[in-house]
């Protein structure tokens, strides 16, 4: 897409000024609980003695903590939050938005910075105390058990291992040599998928005894003892016609 990465500059062209407001965590959590309409409170801008004072008042229904939405919760989030205004001095701040479809647009420039502060009262202090308690809890915990764990023993031989061994013996027995041609077909189809194979993997794929398999492999393949693919088998050059990855990509 030619438009990918193209930044939509309409916001900036219109010189839309926005405010960047730092909001405490608890307040933003409350805001997330807001209703569908999204109204969370009101801002009041008052001009006193030439200076504007901005204050935010949280809606009553959002003051309850703990997502119960009830005002009867013991602790309330404070409601009044005066804003402290700052100028955007040392930095030029712009706002850009990034959508899921990778559409980037420049929304506007920041003209004012503000911090949302709660009014400090007892209620707020209690809230803070709660927060501190939460954060000081250690993440890991030592717990004493009443009874010792008895499920783990030190066996003489691994019980599971034994079972597996027996099972294996039963089901497969000694691997039977299949027809040479059948084995060859299996091998070729395997080598179509990958170029290098370990002998153990081949045994697993073909279910043939090792000696037999090695014999066949010696006929159609070579063994790499050195190099990147340490101790692996690969087909002889006359048997293989791998296309390089690039060619494949080009073709597909």
């Amino acid at each position: 897409m030619s438009d990918k990465g193209e930044v939509n500059l309409t916001g900036v062209k219109q010189s839309k000024g926005v405010w960047l407001v730092k909001v405490p965590k608890y307040l933003s959590q409350q805001w997330e609980k807001a209703s569908e309409k999204g109204e969370v409170g009101r801002i009041t801008i008052v001009k006193k003695q030439g200076k504007s004072e901005v204050s935010f008042k949280l809606n009553a229904d959002l003051t309850g903590l703990d997502a119960q939405g009830e005002k009867d919760a013991s602790l309330h989030v404070p409601r009044d939050h005066p804003f402290t205004m700052h100028t955007v001095g040392g930095q030029t701040l712009a706002v850009f938005s990034h959508s899921d479809k990778d559409e980037i647009s420049l929304e506007g420039m920041v003209v004012q910075r503000a911090e949302c502060r709660p009014v400090v009262n007892d209620n707020y202090m209690k809230l803070k105390k709660l927060q501190i308690k939460e954060s000081t809890k250690p993440q890991r915990l030592s717990q004493q058990l009443e009874r010792a764990v008895t499920t783990v023993f030190k066996p003489v031989a691994n019980h599971n291992f034994n079972m597996e061994y027996e099972k294996k013996k039963k089901s497969e027995g000694k691997m039977v040599r299949a027809e040479r041609q059948v084995v060859l077909d299996m091998l070729f189809s395997a080598f179509e998928k990958h170029q290098y194979y370990n002998i153990k993997d081949l045994v697993e794929i073909t279910k043939q005894p090792v000696t037999y398999l090695k014999e066949i492999m010696r006929e159609i393949g070579t063994y790499n003892s050195k190099g990147a693919h340490k101790s692996t088998w690969e087909l002889k050059s006359e048997y293989r016609h791998y296309q390089s990855a690039d060619e494949e990509e080009m073709q597909t």
Binding site: S28, E32, G38, T44, T92, H194, Y196, D201
Partner: protein
């Protein structure tokens, strides 16, 4: 809604909404105030993620399927990594930096790096005012600090260190980048077949004298994304050319300025040591010779008696070589002009100008300043002819001593010994090679004539410090063995106020009187005294 006037003070109330739709994620783009970025002036902008780190952090994509792959390789690799406890950081697209290109190809470029920790303890919201007067608050997801990206070439760390070491000596800082660019060009021509991405690839290809070059991988990788945007290659190529032209212009100016300065600068002691002199013509060097050659002092070969007897061309060429060698060895000159044509021009003009000395010196110093491209072949020649080197008395001083010079030196010396002073000086002068001379007003004798100095050993007094006296020569010879060249170097014509021939003559006489002992060191005849 809207504005309700409150009774106590003039306030307005607005509703704050936090919209629930989350299709757009808001981020902050922070620029430094010093960069003076005015977003409203942008006509066009493109921004995309900088994926160059993917190559580093992403797994090495070995061929999957068919050719080159191993069965179960991935599992084995994973198991291996777990066993050794190697934890590789994931490559998160969200955390990658942004690359912002403003106003197309010719405009600025910025790199926006995510600032961490912004959303940890407090949330930022963007308050915008809606047409209906209410505020809408959008949470900020990320903060990116955008910094301008230098489009000009920069030195790598190694080169920067080298230049730092030379900072006291280098005067012309423009030349540093020029030299680098020319070096790259050289190298670029050499490995042209190795697949190019324009000039920037050359930057990658080998450092000065080394094949390993440490550089910002990002830049290279950025290139590849640029290329995909077409015209990236052209960009790279046009840039070095453009810069070269700009550099040329600068170099020219600087050179001219430099020559002016040189004419006015006062010399320090030792500055003229080994300064090459042009032996071009018999014209009197009326002007003071510019000091261009000075900087590369230690390397300049001493003007000796031999030089006087050399032919013009020889010395010209030699000097050129020497200049170039000097340039190699010590770039304290600092006034480098990059341009070949200019050098040639200068050389031509040097022949024409009335003050042959000056122009020749200029030409030579010009050659000194020139690109190493020219130097290797010539230098080889120069060095070859140099042959002998000083006996460690002067560090880093190549003495260029062609066969003819040594023979003439010995011839001159032997003549002196035999007391055939007159004939000796006669043979010396015709070539009219001149050592650095003071303004004509001060030189007592016109060039081309030999005026035997009084045998007293006191040379014509001059305004400078060193006198060509027997005492001085004796002192030198006692201290250590010196060749005639060395001695001559000690008694610069500018200092002693004598002309070349005079110096030679006086020196010859003094030597005759002193009758120092001789020994052959490195095929050169050294004189010394023991007391």
């Amino acid at each position: 809604m809207a504005s309700l006037g409150s009774s106590s003070s003039s306030g307005t109330e607005y509703i704050v909404r936090v919209p629930k739709n989350t299709t757009k994620k808001y981020n902050i783009m922070a620029f430094n105030a010093g960069d003076k970025v005015a977003c409203s002036t942008w006509t066009q902008a493109r921004m995309e993620r900088d994926m160059s780190a993917r190559r580093i952090y992403g797994e090495e994509e070995t061929a999957e399927g068919a050719a080159g792959s191993e069965f179960g390789k991935k599992q084995r690799e994973e198991a291996r990594r777990k066993k050794f406890g190697i934890v590789t950081k994931e490559f998160k697209v969200e955390d990658q930096p942004w690359i912002l290109k403003v106003n197309g190809k010719a405009g600025k470029r910025f790199k926006g790096i995510k600032k961490g920790g912004v959303t940890e303890n407090a949330s930022y919201y963007i308050f915008t005012q809606c047409p209906d007067g209410a505020f809408e608050a959008f949470p900020v997801h990320g903060w990116y600090n955008f910094m301008p990206v230098a489009k000009h070439r920069t030195l790598t760390a190694e080169e920067a260190e080298e230049e730092w070491g030379r900072r006291n000596k280098v005067v012309n800082h423009f030349s540093i980048m020029l030299q680098r660019r020319l070096r790259e060009q050289e190298r670029g021509e050499d490995d042209e077949d190795e697949g190019e991405k324009g000039g920037k690839k050359k930057k990658k290809g080998g450092g000065r004298g080394g094949d390993l070059r440490i550089h910002d991988l990002e830049d290279d990788l950025e290139m590849s994304s640029d290329d995909s945007h077409s015209s990236g290659g052209e960009d790279g190529e046009s840039k070095p050319k453009a810069k070269k032209d700009a550099g040329k212009g600068k170099g020219k100016k600087k050179k001219k300025k430099g020559s002016e300065h040189e004419a006015l600068e006062d010399s320090d002691d030792g500055d003229y040591e080994g300064l090459e002199v042009d032996y071009m013509s018999d014209d009197s060097s009326s002007e003071e010779e510019p000091e261009k050659g000075k900087p590369a002092k230690a390397d300049e070969h001493p003007k000796g008696i031999d030089e006087l007897s050399e032919s013009e061309e020889e010395s010209e060429e030699e000097k050129q070589n020497e200049e170039e060698t000097k340039e190699e060895e010590e770039e304290d000159d600092g006034k480098k002009t990059p341009v070949q044509p200019e050098k040639k021009k200068k050389k031509d003009s040097s022949g024409e100008s009335e003050s042959s000395d000056d122009s020749d010196i200029e030409g030579e110093t010009a050659s000194a300043l020139f690109m190493k491209k020219r130097t290797p072949p010539k230098r080889g020649g120069g060095r070859g002819s140099a042959g002998s080197s000083r006996t460690g008395s002067r560090p880093g001083t190549p003495s260029i001593d062609s066969g003819s010079t040594s023979s003439t030196l010995r011839a001159a010396a032997s003549k002196l010994e035999q007391g055939k002073r007159q004939s000796g000086s006669a043979t010396d002068t015709p070539a009219a090679k001149r050592l650095k001379m003071e303004p004509n007003s001060q030189s007592p004798a016109p060039s081309g004539k030999s005026t035997p100095q009084p045998a007293s050993g006191k040379s014509t007094p001059s305004s400078s410090d060193v006198q060509l006296t027997e005492e001085a020569v004796r002192r030198y010879l006692i201290r250590k063995p010196m060749t005639t060249k060395d001695l001559l170097k000690k008694f610069q014509t500018k200092r002693t106020g004598l002309s070349n021939e005079q110096t030679v003559n006086v020196l010859a006489q003094i030597l005759k009187r002193l009758n120092p002992e001789r020994k052959n060191v490195n095929d050169k005849m050294h004189f010394y005294l023991t007391e």
